[in-house]
């Protein structure tokens, strides 16, 4: 293991364009050049950190995406979508590289061409969980880095993880919690963020979804509502008026259309109990305007695509359910579903369950 200082590292990186320097672990102490200046503002920050790859640029806006390991497809898609959007606006994304929300948020940011950092509860050379090794490699290779306060070789220990969350929140300008249960490690990050005076945003969930209870409670306590990436982009000083206007426009045109179809749908319902049940169509429309995604032109006027897309939502649905709701026959249903999946408008949340992808 070679330890070299920040200046030397940057120089070598620029002059040699040598990727091997990326596998060198650097120790950065308080007072060194690269030591994150934000650490000086908060209590209980580590005196020295180990870094693999680079450190985040303090002059660039940074968002932390954290959430449940045990996430739903809704959380997964939201994390990926927010991560990707942030990356497309040049925002740095920080997370803990745990299963679930953390890694999906980071993957989204990488797919959007952004730089990503992971703060680990292990040594920077220990990839935990091991399944995320491809992600770990990609983070370093694409200009981000792995940060830890623990010396190289440290193995995972349960008490390491809540503590490292203070570094995640300290390095970021905004902390976004995508999915969290009432007792969740992500809420610890939110607590640190509150202490450090950072803005906190939470992606809202439905009442009754245990995976979103923590987020909803954060909102009740005053966290910002991450109804769309624009909410956070505006907070960070980006001009999103255009994007917001486009969203409203899309929602308006959508609202005009389905009214007729909704009536039609009602007429087709034959069983008397169906009226007592909450109507799923309306709920789905709600999701749609929130996601604000329209089908591309080639499919926008195709009846089958419209019928099916209306019934796809964040709730994973089986082909059986989709068939019942859309009324399409199996061959046309599968061909529409597959084409939407291939072009990234829908995806399989779990084998056999399909969801809509926000974008």
């Amino acid at each position: 293991m070679k330890l070299s200082d920040e200046e030397e590292f940057e120089r070598r990186l620029r002059s040699e364009n040598d990727m091997s320097v990326l596998s060198e672990i650097r120790l950065i102490r308080k007072g060194d050049d690269g030591y994150p200046p934000c650490f000086l503002n908060y209590p209980r920050m580590p005196g020295s950190i180990y870094v693999l790859g680079r450190l985040p640029d303090p002059s660039v806006k940074t968002v932390a995406i954290v959430g449940a390991r045990n996430c739903t497809s809704y959380g997964r898609n939201q994390a990926e979508y927010f991560g990707r959007t942030f990356a497309q606006h040049g925002i740095q994304v920080i997370s803990g590289m745990a299963y679930g929300i953390d890694s999906w948020g980071q993957k989204g940011a990488l797919d959007g061409g952004g730089k990503v950092w992971s703060v680990l509860g292990t040594g920077v050379d220990v990839c935990y969980p091991r399944q995320n090794y491809p992600l770990y490699r990609r983070i370093i290779r694409e200009g981000g880095g792995i940060i830890s306060e623990y010396p190289p070789g440290t193995l995972p220990d349960a008490w390491h993880f809540p503590i490292r969350n203070r570094i995640i929140s300290a390095l970021s300008d905004v902390v976004l919690v995508v999915e969290a249960r009432l007792k969740s490690g992500s809420l610890i990050t939110a607590d640190y963020a509150m202490e450090q005076g950072k803005s906190i945003y939470a992606v809202p969930g439905r009442n009754g979804d245990t995976t979103s209870e923590g987020c909803n409670r954060l909102i009740a306590q005053g966290a910002g509502i991450a109804w769309a990436p624009e909410a956070i982009l505006e907070e960070l000083g980006f001009d999103c008026s255009e994007a917001c206007a486009a969203r409203f426009e899309a929602a308006e045109t959508e609202q005009k259309k389905p009214s007729g179809q909704r009536k039609k749908k009602k007429n087709t319902v034959t069983s008397p109990e169906a009226d007592l049940l909450p109507e799923p169509v309306i709920a789905d429309d709600g999701h749609r305007s929130a996601a604000g995604r329209k089908l591309p032109g080639k499919w926008a006027h195709c009846d089958d695509f419209q019928k099916l897309y209306r019934h796809l939502s964040d709730t994973p649905k089986t082909l059986d359910t989709l068939q019942e709701e859309s009324g399409l026959d199996l061959p046309s249903l599968t061909s529409v579903v597959m084409q939407l999946c291939i072009s990234g408008y829908a995806a399989e949340a779990a084998p056999g369950f399909y969801v809509k992808i926000p974008g």
Binding site: M338, P351, G352
Partner: protein, 544 residues
């Protein structure tokens, strides 16, 4: 005084003719038996000696030597009792000389001289016919089986007395019974697909599996109807052809599993071994190899419930027979090749508690789910052409009438249409079903329309498919097209086939990230440059 009669030994699922030679000559009185015989066969001498004594005859006080030839094949079981007794009686002069030339004898003897049933009569009689024998003598209990073989006469005897009577021409010999070959497919125990409420996609997948002999993996929460579906698949499979019926009946006869009083199986086998099954009983084994469950499921269904609970090593052993459709087993007793062309139907829960992806009910951690699923390797998953989710049934579907449900009859129509299309297409070729196509046959038989091939290409890149996945998808699409009666594979067929090759994003995550890692390493810089440019443009706009 020397004489010999014909009998048959079993080696694996093959029948080998054995000649039973007896020599009665001067020397120390006694009975010796040679010819690589097992202890079961050696015990025959006691049964034969006593049975003959109880017939009222006594063995001559001379040296009797019995040889089972060829001497290098191991002989097992009790089927040599009757031929040995016949040869001894002939050598003693109790039976006219040469009366049993061109005759095959099989059967066990009791001490009182009555005969007992033995396995392997059906293939034994077929072997006799092919060797040009004119008569088969079998225990009366096995007569039905023997009569099913066309082109040879058979006689069933109750005891050694009957044997002597046959030798004197006192018992009429019956010709084979024509028309005992399978006609209508029997439905097993009245089970029908209409018993299953809802689950349209699952029924469709079962139909495709039955039509093209594709392997099917059913995954779903407990109590959603996975086992019910699997058990009903034989009811919609194409009817057995006479050749297939004979083929599987021979195997069942050899292992002694033919139902009593039946000669030929008319329904396709359905085997559902418990998940604690050992490799030897699954694949076949033993010192002299015996067929295992996969061979007993030949031309039918092998249903493995609770797939992840099975010993992973045992499960992975299925890979090679799934590909080759037969299995070769080498043991000290010899090397045998057993046929094993079956539909593998697997059932599993999506996670240890069974409720994933319903996160409000599922209590499993991602790691638990991953380790549960990784008990089934990707290699085996690739071989499952149809992976189908069986969702928990909704109340509305449960209370609906049975007459609304898709029944076996409706499903079978499509299956038979596909079976006929396949029969026409593969006339004179060594395979019957689409799933048996090799990679080299695929371009010839699985022709795609332009749209379909564009879709397939897009899917290949999007879902990071392997070459095997690609081929299996095409084969499944071919079957779907056959069910629909189409000669070319269209877009809809491909997309439906793709729907049954579902992937789990959580499991695929690392794979996706890894591939992206390789691909994106080159593009990353490029994209970052583009992003900076567009961001700079936006900034300018903001300023102005």
């Amino acid at each position: 005084m020397f004489c010999s009669v014909l009998s048959a030994a079993i080696s694996g699922t093959e029948i080998l003719p054995v000649s039973v030679e007896v020599d009665v000559s001067t020397g120390m009185p006694g009975l010796t038996m040679v010819g690589f015989v097992s202890s079961q066969v050696r015990e025959a001498q006691e049964r034969v000696r006593t049975a003959i004594r109880n017939l009222g005859l006594s063995l001559p006080p001379r040296r009797i030597t019995i040889n089972l030839s060829p001497g290098d094949i191991r002989k097992d079981g009790t089927r040599f009792d009757l031929p040995i007794a016949a040869a001894v009686l002939e050598a003693m002069g109790a039976i006219p000389k040469h009366v049993f030339s061109d005759t095959l004898l099989l059967g066990e003897l009791h001490l009182d001289g009555t005969t007992g049933e033995v396995p392997g009569v059906l293939p034994g009689v077929i072997c006799a016919r092919d060797m040009g024998c004119r008569l088969c003598i079998v225990p009366s209990g096995n007569l039905v089986e023997a009569l099913a073989v066309q082109g040879i006469r058979s006689v069933g005897i109750r005891s050694l007395q009957d044997l002597i009577a046959v030798s004197r021409g006192e018992i009429p010999v019956q010709p084979s019974v024509p028309g005992s070959l399978p006609g209508e497919q029997g439905v097993s125990g009245g089970a029908d697909f209409s018993d299953i409420h809802g689950q349209k996609t699952v029924k469709r997948a079962a139909q495709i599996a039955a039509a093209g002999f594709h392997n099917l993996l059913l995954s779903g929460p407990p109590g959603s109807g996975k086992s019910m579906t699997a058990r009903r698949i034989p009811t919609i499979m194409p009817p057995l052809t006479p050749e297939e019926s004979l083929e599987i009946s021979k195997i069942y006869s050899i292992v002694g599993l033919l139902p009593e009083g039946t000669a030929l199986l008319h329904t396709r086998p359905f085997r559902a071994p418990h998940h604690t099954i050992t490799p030897a009983s699954l694949l076949g084994g033993g010192t002299s190899p015996r067929p295992g469950e996969i061979t007993l499921a030949h031309r039918g269904v092998l249903f493995l419930d609770e797939l992840p609970e099975m010993n992973p090593a045992t499960l992975e052993m299925l890979r090679q027979p799934l590909e080759d459709r037969r299995i070769t087993i080498s043991r000290t007793g010899g090397t045998c090749t057993f046929p094993a062309s079956f539909i593998l139907v697997g059932a599993m829960n999506p996670c240890p508690c069974g409720w994933y992806p319903n996160r409000n009910r599922c209590t499993c951690s991602p790691k638990q789910i991953m380790s549960y699923r990784s008990r089934i390797s990707q290699a085996l998953l690739d071989r499952m052409d149809l992976r189908c989710e069986v969702p928990a049934t909704e109340y509305g579907a449960l209370t609906g009438g049975k007459q609304d449900e898709v029944s076996s009859e409706i499903l079978r129509e499509g299956v038979i249409r596909a079976a006929e299309a396949q029969k026409d297409r593969y006339e004179g070729l060594p395979f019957i079903f689409n799933s048996e196509l090799g990679p080299s046959d695929i371009p010839r038989f699985c022709q795609l329309t332009g749209e379909a091939s564009r879709l397939m290409e897009a899917a290949f890149h999007r879902f990071l498919m392997s070459a095997r996945s690609y081929h299996h998808t095409l084969k499944t699409a071919r079957t779907i097209a056959d069910i629909e009666g189409a000669s070319l594979i269209c877009e809809a067929h491909i997309s439906e086939a793709l729907c049954y090759r579902s992937t789990d994003p959580d499991i695929e995550f690392s794979v996706q990230a890894g591939v992206a890692d390789r691909q994106d390493a080159d593009n990353a810089e490029k994209r970052r440059g583009y992003r900076k440019k567009s961001y700079a443009k936006k900034k300018e706009k903001m300023k102005s």
